[in-house]
Amino acid sequence: MSAEAVRRVLAAGAPVPPPFDVARIRADFPILSRLVRGKPLVFLDSAASAQKPRAVIEAMTAMYEGGYANVHRGAYWLSESATAAFEGAREAVARFINAGSAREVVFVRNATEGINLVAQSWGRAFLKAGDEVLITAMEHHANIVPWQMLRDQIGIVLRVAPVTDRGELDMEAFRRLLGPRTRLVAVTQMSNVLGTITPVGAIVAAARAQGALVLLDGCQAIVHAAQDMQALGADFYVFSGHKLYGPTGIGVLWAKLAHLEAMPPWMGGGDMIASVSFERTTYAEPPARFEAGTPAIAEAIGLKAAIEYLGGIDRAGAHAHEQGLLDHATARLSAIPGVAIIGEAQAKGAVVSFTVDTAHPHDLATLLDRAGVCVRAGHHCAQPLMERFGLPATARASFAIYNTRAEVDALADAVARAREFFA
């Protein structure tokens, strides 16, 4: 943490977290002490879904054991208390991402649902045939398919900015594809396959210059560094709780309040109405307008616990640790003959995709699994990106706050053995 950051924390009266210590972090994650196939678990698939600290597990258990009732309904103490806890989670998210207010925080199931919400609510209300949505070739299917569905529904045009051989966004081509018909730029902040961190500042500025709005898929990026909605300058931001050491079933759509206020509801039901009669229904103000039905209550509490957990650690130190693991993995894997790393962006987060000349990624993953090493193998929900690099699949290791250099070594050793096995 920088001296300035320390001063800010001290001024705010919050305790300064102790310097980052991976051994202490590991002790907070119960699953890391288990064996898999008789070997210590080496979990290198956190980019798919992260493991949970005890604080998250205990917060959800405590909610169910002592604080649970439906929210926004009961005129009884337990429901009021659950509502306060649920809305407290929203406040915690708002502070975590420096939202303008908690009203800008819509709880969804995951980032996928958040993007679908924007496409179906904002997109259907404000876009018309011929309007353009610009994405990139490194998007997750979650930031491709909702726009294709919208294209098929109302005739928008979907444009795709290419990536370079190094796996970076081709900014020249991106700027060329931006035009007066571009209404929305929807871009990942960090590729789940390549690890590429996209130049969000330049993207937002270029989009603004054309009067386009910006949606950022923050699923991967928010896990590795604090995100500030005021500083980013985007219009929409989505992320999933389960990648952020929180539970599944809860995610966040952040949007500028003016957008949310102008957007029609997407799903109808309870909780999202002001009044209902068979003749006419009026809708609640945001964010309730977008949260039809009983929400994921305990999961929101769990997400708050994950955010507080991250607030209690030295995140700058954690980030440096993760980048160190990435550098070490890149060096170790590159030193193995026949291993090719896919994605060599200058700005890269703690994800490494690779192929091995003698082994298909699935065979590789099976062998690594026998060594207790969990990696992802496949197209990573980014088939167009795989096509771009002419690959049916890659293996991917991703690093979290709880991973160690020894685990990176276990990965590299197992990859080298697997290469021999299939040679």
Binding site: P361, H362, D363, T366, R370, A371, A377, G378, A393, R417
Partner: protein, 155 residues
């Protein structure tokens, strides 16, 4: 990781057929062909068959990209179905799929002489995520023999 553990799944025959697949080519003017696709892992395969007047398979071949399991399975399949009628080949495929999922009390009888050759792939039953790798070729062959126009998916 001991190699012994892995030999249950990756027997030498599989490694051999995975590295040097037999009948790995396109057939000119096949009597039947089909494409198969395992979207989970990106495996793609195309199977080609030639049949004689009696409907007996005279040649079978495949092309594609896949893991060792799917490549070896396709390679073994193209060897084994030669000389069989379409019905026999489909029955063999059904028995093989049962074996690969671990529940096949009648496999020994159904697969008869071919069982020993295909049994090398029975290890996939212990790896649920890999079963589809082993069965893709047989699904695709079935589609080709049924003259199905659509691409086969194992998902």
């Amino acid at each position: 990781m001991t190699e012994d553990d892995l030999r249950d799944l990756y027997q030498e025959v599989i490694l051999d057929h995975g590295r040097r697949p037999r009948n790995f080519r396109r057939l000119d003017a096949p009597d039947a062909s089909a494409r198969g696709n395992n979207p989970l892992c990106g495996d793609r395969i195309e199977v080609f068959v030639k049949t004689d007047a009696e409907g007996r398979i005279t040649d079978a071949a495949f092309e594609g990209k896949g893991c060792a399991i799917s490549t070896a399975s396709a390679s073994l399949m193209t060897e084994i179905v030669k000389g069989k009628t379409a019905e026999e080949a489909k029955a063999l495929g059904a028995a093989f799929r049962e074996m690969a999922t671990g529940g096949c009390p009648h496999c020994e009888a159904a697969l008869e002489d071919d069982f020993d050759r295909l049994r090398v792939l029975s290890g996939v039953a212990e790896y649920p995520s890999r079963v589809k790798c082993a069965t893709l070729a047989w699904h695709t062959l079935g589609a080709a023999l049924d003259h199905a126009a659509e691409e086969v998916r194992t998902e």
